[in-house]
Amino acid sequence: MTFNRIKRWLFSLRFGIFLFIIMAIYVTFGTLLPQDLPPGHYLDSYRLGSLIIALGFHQTYSSWIFRVIMVMFLINLAGCTLKMIPSQQRRYRQDYFPSPKPDAENLWRDDITSDELLDLLRRKKYHISEILHEPGTYHATRNRWGVFASTITHAGIITIILGSFIGNYFAQEGFFNLMPGETATFHQEGFSVQLQDFYMSFREDGSTEQYYSDLLILENDAPVGSETIWVNRPLRHRGMMLYQSSFGWASRLQIKEIETNEVVFNQFLRNDETTFFQPAHLTVHLFGYFPEFQLGHQGMPVTLSQEERNPHYAVVLYHFGEFVDSFIMNPSQRFTYQGYEIGFAESVLYTGIIYRKDFGYYAVLAGCLLLMAGLLMAFYFYPKYILVRQGELYAISRQNAWGFSMWLKRILQQLKEKEGERS
């Protein structure tokens, strides 16, 4: 008894709407609060910090509360949908025909005969049957399969949510940088990619038009193909997707011993990277490489574009942790320090690539298609019923009673007008 009551409530529309509201309110908090910061931040900055943490609003979309809401929603939706299938099957049967509502408008016009009417409906692709025990009464129907619209829509939503669960638990994703010549390996998928080249195209105003990575695909160290990727055009290989995502400059720091004229240090530094040169106890911090250098606000170096029109390096030196000096230098300049000559030999672009493998996406995509198909059925290809009998004409639909009657009136009017023109 109580079990049935719980089931009725769990699978009810009322509970579904309740979950809709809870869901909308819950995710709203996620958009208003910063996400994924350490708990201490919330405790310090908000008066209700502990409540935020307890309700999971510091990581709203992966909190257990949100998962519980989603699972409840799945159960509710699945239950609701299954519950309705038998009545839909009944309405799908050939002999089903709803009776007009008591307040429905009778659209019969004396200037149009039953035969003219049936003819018109036949032309509008209605299926017409005469009722055996009521001669002169006709049932015209269209889109009877539209009764399944809600089931298809809901099945779409369920598929989308399940697909996203698959993604949450099984998707692999990550990020790596490659300089030309470097390789990244996907052991599980059994292939690697080598960056042949990375380059950008520019517009006249110096803004970046596009980023390109030329990738060579290798399996067992043998090339099996090559592909150029750019933003909005990922590479797909063995289920793994590779996306052009970012870029940066790596600059070759060279240190020469002046006495011997020998290169004793040779290493790539990325912007904001630091390295330690043991012989002189020197820490070199590459503050940044500026391809089109300009001194900006408050003497800060900036770059106007990524084109190497006026390249400069900004470098800071430390000795045993103490600040020594800072330079802004171009590629031909060198500075000396305790018998060493220090400078940058070249700068190369490296690429930043996101990889992601998520089979859940295909479920989500299939769900989206179902959802769209279901909505089209519900709003436009819904079941339409017309009752025709001498002196009576009713347009019957659950979805769009008013609009459907409007439509019928309109085509009757058009029929008369056309006849008027002909005669």
Binding site: V27, T31, R356, G403
Partner: protein, 272 residues
């Protein structure tokens, strides 16, 4: 004269015509003179044509559809509202709806005029054929929700002012109610398409199809509100006043998704 100056001039003329249309519709409601209503329709229609020319000039200038920053989108959104209004007007002959919808259009256009309007080339993430479908459906969806909210406002207001209703100025209340429901259904279908195409696009541009970016989340919230509306209406027979309030609330969510998210909660999706 270059194209951008032409666009600016046409934009201003359209703006003035939209204001004129709104004023005529108000005069129509106040005076019940059919002439005022006719004038409003003419102003709205000619404003729309000139607005379309302005957009055309911009398309010629930039070589792409005007869909890529807040100014262009607000502009297209205005265009979508007026398009949906005119479609409803010529199909159902509801002149009075203009009094509620045209002010929305000119407010939105006023908002657009405050935004930086220089033509900028598309950044790499936007260079995709999904841009057209994604934003095109958003324009239609938001336009439809605006007209539906206008109809709901008529419903709410004329429900109180029996007098106006008796004078048969405002459309039949039942018609307003039904029509706003049908228009919401269309807007909802389009909004679903916006979200679906956004997800497909996000997968090819950003690797994940859904990332709880504020714009994504707020479009979902809007979608949930209208889902609740449609269910309450269809399964529980909600009509009239509660449904009309719901439609107005839904439209507030639309406006927040559009303007609030870009200005208050910027994420990777705020192309300003």
């Amino acid at each position: 004269m270059n194209l951008i100056a032409v666009e600016e001039m046409l934009f201003t003329i359209a703006f003035v015509l939209y204001i004129a249309a709104s004023l005529s519709f108000f005069a129509f409601l106040a005076s019940s003179k059919a002439r005022a209503g006719q004038l409003g329709v003419y102003a709205a229609l000619s404003g729309f044509l000139i607005h379309t020319l302005a957009m055309g000039a911009r398309i010629l200038e930039s070589g792409r559809l005007p869909f890529s920053n807040q100014y262009e989108f607000a502009n297209s959104f205005t265009w979508g509202i007026v398009l949906c209004y005119l479609a409803i007007h010529f199909y159902y002959r509801f002149t009075a709806v203009g009094a509620f919808v045209m002010p929305l259009a000119f407010l939105m256009m006023g908002y657009a005029s405050l935004l930086p309007r220089h033509v900028r080339p598309l950044m790499p993430a936007l260079q995709s054929r999904w841009l057209t479908v994604h934003v095109g459906t958003a324009v239609l969806s938001y336009g439809a929700f605006a007209v539906a909210a206008g109809l709901s406002l008529i419903y709410l207001i004329s429900g109180r002012k029996e007098g106006a209703h008796k004078r048969r100025l405002l459309p039949d209340l039942d018609a307003c109610d039904f029509l706003s429901y049908r228009i919401i259904a269309f807007g909802y279908l389009m909004l679903t398409l916006v979200i679906v195409t956004g997800a497909i696009w996000a997968r090819s541009a950003w690797s994940r199809y859904w990332g709880w970016d504020p714009k994504e989340t707020w479009s979902l919230i809007t979608w949930i509100i209208y889902s609740a509306y449609l269910h309450l209406r269809f399964n529980r027979g909600w009509k009239g006043k509660p449904a009309a309030w719901f439609s107005v609330i839904g439209f507030i969510a639309v406006i927040f998704t559009f303007i609030g998210v870009n200005t208050l909660l910027p994420g990777i999706h705020s192309y300003r």
